[in-house]
């Protein structure tokens, strides 16, 4: 297990794109220490920010985190990364595979563009978790994103594939969704604004949009299969799916092939 120990709170934002177990496995500790990670003219390197201990394995641990650590696990394709603390924006940006775990909280755009692997945030996620960044065609794009705490507004904005599993989400969860699945203990106001396809399952919700139409309480095999597939993710509210669910179809402002399920009771 390779270890990067944060020396102190960074004085500027740090960009950890390409700092993955695979990339570090080919380098000596001295070579890794020279990798540029700073974002100002001071030219900070990995060695300036972290004490480095490498063993060539496919497992990397960040001992200590900060909200200024951006793009942690971006481009991860195999192996695992664990951060003991917080991270900044774009956690797992474009990640293709492997396992990424944050014990603290994450900044905005966690999981954006991630096509594979599993991202777990033990604390809270900022706005637009699983959402698209500026000019991107899609947010989460096939990966699994688990948020044990709360997520901010715009969860899964423009997501195209994959699953988001969250305890509590803010307003406009599933906004502009292209496809994919969001399962939440609760979501805030106006879930699914502009969604085209995709599924939102919520234990409770805020104000619904006038462009979502109730379509009854169908007994769908799909929901039971979804519950089974989510069981291994270890979240209690997958149990929601075993009860009677009321279905809403939307957003009728678009092609309206999305759906929101919420308990009928």
């Amino acid at each position: 297990m390779s270890i990067l120990t944060l020396r102190s709170e960074p004085v500027e934002r740090i960009d950890l794109l390409n700092i993955t177990p695979l990339a570090l496995s080919k380098l000596s500790e001295a070579e890794a220490g020279k990798l540029p990670v700073g974002t100002s003219r001071r030219g900070l390197t990995l060695g300036d920010v972290f004490a480095i201990k490498l063993d060539g394995s496919d497992s990397l641990v960040f001992e200590g985190g900060s909200a200024r650590l951006d793009r942690v696990g971006a481009a991860l394709s195999e192996g695992s990364i664990r951060v003991e603390g917080d991270v900044g924006q774009r956690l797992g940006d474009g990640m293709a595979g492997g396992s990424l775990t944050v014990t603290g909280s994450a900044g905005p755009f966690a999981g954006t563009g991630a096509t594979g692997g599993t991202i777990t945030i033990e604390g809270d996620a900022g706005d637009n978790a699983g959402g698209a960044v500026y000019a991107a065609k899609a947010g989460l794009d096939g990966a699994t994103l688990i948020v044990r705490g709360s997520a901010g507004d715009g969860l899964g904005d423009r997501m195209r594939r994959g699953i988001i599993f969250v305890e509590k989400a803010g307003a406009r969860a599933g906004q502009r969704m292209i496809a994919g699945t969001i399962v939440a203990g609760s979501v805030g106001d106006e879930p699914g604004y502009g969604m085209r396809r995709g599924t939102i399952v919520a234990g409770s919700h805020g104000t619904l949009l006038p462009t979502f139409a109730e379509t009854g309480t169908p007994d769908l095999v799909f929901l039971r299969l979804l519950a089974r597939s989510l069981a291994h993710l270890g979240a209690g509210h997958a149990e929601l799916l075993k009860g009677t669910m009321r279905r809403y179809s939307g957003d009728l402002a678009t092609i309206g092939k999305g759906e929101l399920f919420t308990p009928a009771g």
């Binding site: 974002t39 960044v133 502009r176 106006e190 502009g194 949009l209 462009t211």
Partner: protein, 358 residues
């Protein structure tokens, strides 16, 4: 011309020298405002490139509500002259369009060319004032936000909702247009609302002609966008910390940078009127402001330098909303000696002389 350093009157050369010292020693300087003539904005981008600063225009949030939507899906747009010349149906969204004189002009004229030439023009409003001075038919939105109302209307236009209610009638009016235009402010309806609106126009364009006429912000945001595009290849919020222009609307949001303690110096450029950032007094800052403006006073920032105001005490190229282009405006009064561009160029030269390790 006036300048102040730490509240004390100073000559401009001394203020420029102090500004150069402040910026040369900063780790993460931010340039905000950029409400100025094009030459000054260009000088600001050059200085930012020299010292590794980031830039964020005052129009930032509204500008990105529009830019993000266009970048993701494109837009069908038109101009004010085409609207006046051809439109038989004009939908005005929200309150901001009523603040200018365009809506009154639209309401008081008829199309003179194209398929609707000579016909009466229908002016419709969604979520705007019910009793405006101009002739129009107003559709209220109750407690709904503008973006939700636009989505609701779109569902009727697409035929996914049908009922004898106001939005049903409005949808029929829009679909019957020969040449329709929607006037709106992207900053007022937000990014999601803008995307929904542009989607609505694409739906209408399946059977007729319908175009967007987004209003420009009043803080030179469109001029900044053009200059940033031809200078850096990117939209305005760029940073030069890594010796290349990096675009990131979240990272280079100046208010966020200051609140997070990431910025250690600021330059606020506002030779044209612009709201002063609430955070300006919270870090070492330079304010380059228009002569005679409310912010031309020693308390505005650590270093304050007054400069000529384009179109008043200086000439300069600024955004012309009516024509949708950048155009030159002459000084209408006595031209002052110092321009914002000259002051920023002076700061750059001073930093080069100091040999800052940038």
């Amino acid at each position: 011309m006036a300048a102040w350093i730490n509240g004390n009157a100073a000559d401009t050369d001394a203020a420029v020298d102090a500004a150069a010292t402040l910026l040369a020693t900063a780790r993460t300087p931010v340039f905000a405002g950029l409400s100025a003539e094009l030459a000054a904005i260009r000088a600001a981008y050059r200085l930012a490139d020299r010292i590794g600063a980031s830039l964020d225009p005052a129009a930032g949030d509204g500008l990105y509500a529009e830019l993000a939507t266009i970048a993701a899906g494109g837009a069908l747009t038109t101009t004010a002259p085409e609207t006046l010349g051809r439109a038989d149906t004009v939908l005005v969204i929200g309150n901001r369009p009523w603040a200018g004189d365009l809506v009154a002009e639209v309401a008081g004229s008829k199309p003179v060319r194209g398929r609707a030439a000579g016909e009466e023009r229908s002016v419709l409003s969604l979520g705007g004032p019910a009793n405006g001075a101009s002739r129009h038919v107003a559709y209220g939105i109750g407690n709904a936000s503008l973006d939700v109302a636009i989505g609701h209307l779109r569902a009727f236009v697409r035929g996914n909702l049908a009922a004898e209610e106001a939005f049903g009638e409005l949808a029929k009016r829009l679909a019957a247009a020969k040449f329709g235009v929607v006037i709106y402010d992207a900053g007022e309806i937000g990014e999601a609302g803008t995307e929904m609106l542009l989607g609505l126009l694409k739906d209408l364009a399946e059977t007729t002609r319908f175009f967007a006429l987004p209003l420009a912000d009043p803080f030179q945001g469109r001029a900044v966008t053009q200059l940033s595009a031809w200078t850096t290849g990117q939209a305005p919020r760029v940073g030069f910390g890594r010796h290349m222009p990096e675009h990131d609307p979240w990272r280079f949001d100046s208010a966020r940078q200051v609140a997070a303690g990431e910025a250690d110096a600021a330059l606020w450029l506002a030779s044209l009127p612009s709201p002063r950032p609430s955070w300006l007094g919270s870090l070492p800052a330079i304010a380059i402001v228009g002569e005679g403006s409310a912010d031309a006073r020693p308390e505005t920032a650590e270093i304050v330098i007054t400069v000529g105001v384009p179109g008043a005490s200086a000439g300069g190229s600024v955004w012309n909303e009516r024509r949708g282009v950048i155009g030159y405006v002459e000084a209408t009064g006595h031209a002052v000696a110092d321009t914002a561009a000259g002051v920023i160029a002076g700061i750059t030269k001073n930093i080069e002389k100091k040999g800052a390790s940038c």
